[in-house]
Every structure is written in C-alpha cells, then in structure tokens.
Subunit: 139 residues, 2 copies
DNA sequence: TCCGACACTCTCCTTTTGGTGCGTATGGCA
DNA sequence: TGCCATACGCACCAAAAGGAGAGTGTCGGA
C-alpha cells in the first residue's frame, strides 16, 4: 500500500495543502512543533514560568513524576532550542540554575491556551471517552 | 538515586507545586495534555480545521508523511476523545468522513498560539541550535 | 569516619512508537 | 474476465522513548 504514500509525497511536494508558506519553512516549523509539543517540555515550561529560576531537583519536584534522565534530556533540548538558560555555579556540591528565556516565556504564553482548554474541557473529554467505551469497547 | 524520585513523589502528593487545583483534576488534565500534545494530533487537527470535512486519504494527504497506521490510530483516539466525528457511509468502496467537533475546534484554536509561535520564532530556534552546536557540539 | 547531597552520566531493560506489507469486500470499469 | 479503489485490521519488525539503578566527586554534618 505504498500507493497512498507515493500520492501523499507527491501531493506534499507539490504542496497543495499549504499554499501560503514555503515548503522549507513548513518543514522547519513542523520540526520545531514536533520538538516542542512534548509532554515534559510543556510541564517544565509551566514549572519555570510559574516559579521563575529553579535548580535541577526543584524542576523535578515541580514537574513531578519525571525521571532524572528525562529531566536532563528535556532541559538540555530546551537549552539547545534557546528556551532556557542554564547557569552553572562551580561550587563543590554542584549548583545549576534554569531560567526561561524570552523565547521560552513566549512559548509558555502560547501554550497557555492549551492548558486552559484542558482545564476547561477535560470533563467533556472524559465523558466522550466513557461514551466511546460504551459504544465500541465494552458493549 | 531513587531518593530524588521519593522526594518528588512525596512533594507531589503533598501537592506543594499545585495549590489551586485538586490533584485528581491535575492528573486528568495532564493525561489529556499528554494525549493531545502529540505531533500527529496537532497536524490532523490543523488539516481538519483548515479544510473542514475530509475523508481518510484526504486527511493523509493534507497532513503529509503519515502512515495509514498512525493515521488510523490518531483519528481513532481523536474520535474517542470527542475531537472528531467519524461518519461511515456504507457504500461498497468504503467512504468515511471526519469532521471536527466543537471541542476539536476549540482545541485547534488553542493550538493556534503555538503554531503562531513556531512560525514567528522558528528562525530564532534555528539560531539557538546553531549557537549551541558551536558552543558545545562541534567546537 | 562515613553517609548524604547535588547534578548529573552510564548501562541495562521494558514499553511504546512507527513503518511496511498483506489481506479484504465488491461494484464499476476496461 | 479481471483488476482497481477505499479504509482499514493484522502481523511482523526496527527504532526510539523512557524507567531503574549504579557510579561520580567532594564536602559538610552527624
């Protein structure tokens, strides 16, 4: 069934779906979106937005339920993408601070709408899931 | 290093980081966010918002670069969560339509800010990545 | 004296994600 | 007669995500 893929690719190259922006920009935007539309990124963003500068373990506490591995990775990626600044204080028990950049704060503001949506409609999503289960799943 | 995890869990249970909302709601909201903050979900949402009602292959074309498996899965989850309506026309070459619900349109609107952010700042993200590479990576 | 704390890194392991390709039902078209 | 198109489900497989736990280096406190 690669016919569908071929058709997709062809259509995509001809960019029928996206007339206003160039394919290159589209691709970059999608890359950024895919990177940024991540659960942990969103959560860390929220934590830093709400509490300002935090150190490693504090971010972990605020986010809750994240492993150090994922925390390190997420923070590194956010630093790479210019969303946070990482400040290392070369003292003997290590001390590292993380702060949102302007870019990070902007993104946080943009995600605010999604948070609001989730808080506003999570009950409806639950209801929809229940209805779906009863319609297709259990019955 | 499960000390950190234990501390996190304890803190989280005591919900020091999230005073305004109850932990149960928080958990649900996070679940919804995690579900919805997905690359394909965002892309499908965009496609349906922009083009209205589409059928399976059309969604695939609009999104671009998605396999049928992921398309099916994403669409099913969105249907389950009440974001799209799936209408099956029982004709012999199968015909299935997908349309956003009001909930879906609201979410799409909420994500609009993130899209705008990405379009506005993708160049800065690229620059930040380049700088980071030069700082830590290659040099 | 010896453990804990910080901010990681590294290894091992399981789970999830995602791709490819095959099957399917059948009316319409060649 | 026989192949195509639609919207999938299913099986198999590779790759990536993600968690658990151990190691690190030094210093201050018990």
């Amino acid at each position: 069934m690669q016919a569908i893929r071929t058709a997709m690719a062809a259509m995509h190259q001809r960019s029928e779906a996206i007339p206003p922006v160039s394919p290159a920009v589209e691709s970059l935007v999608r890359q950024v979106i895919a990177q940024v539309a991540d659960k942990w990124t969103m959560l860390v963003l929220e934590a830093l937005e709400e509490h300002g500068t935090l150190r490693f373990t504090e971010v972990g506490r605020m986010v809750g339920g994240i492993s150090q591995k994922m925390l390190t990775k997420t923070l590194r990626e956010m630093e790479r993408d210019g969303l946070v600044v990482r400040t290392v204080h070369p003292v003997i028990p290590p001390h590292v601070d993380y702060t949102l950049t302007e870019l990070g704060r902007e993104l946080s503001a943009a995600f605010c709408g999604v948070w609001t949506w989730a808080e506003t409609y999570y009950a409806e999503v639950s209801a929809a899931r229940k209805a779906f289960r009863e319609r297709e799943g259990g019955a």
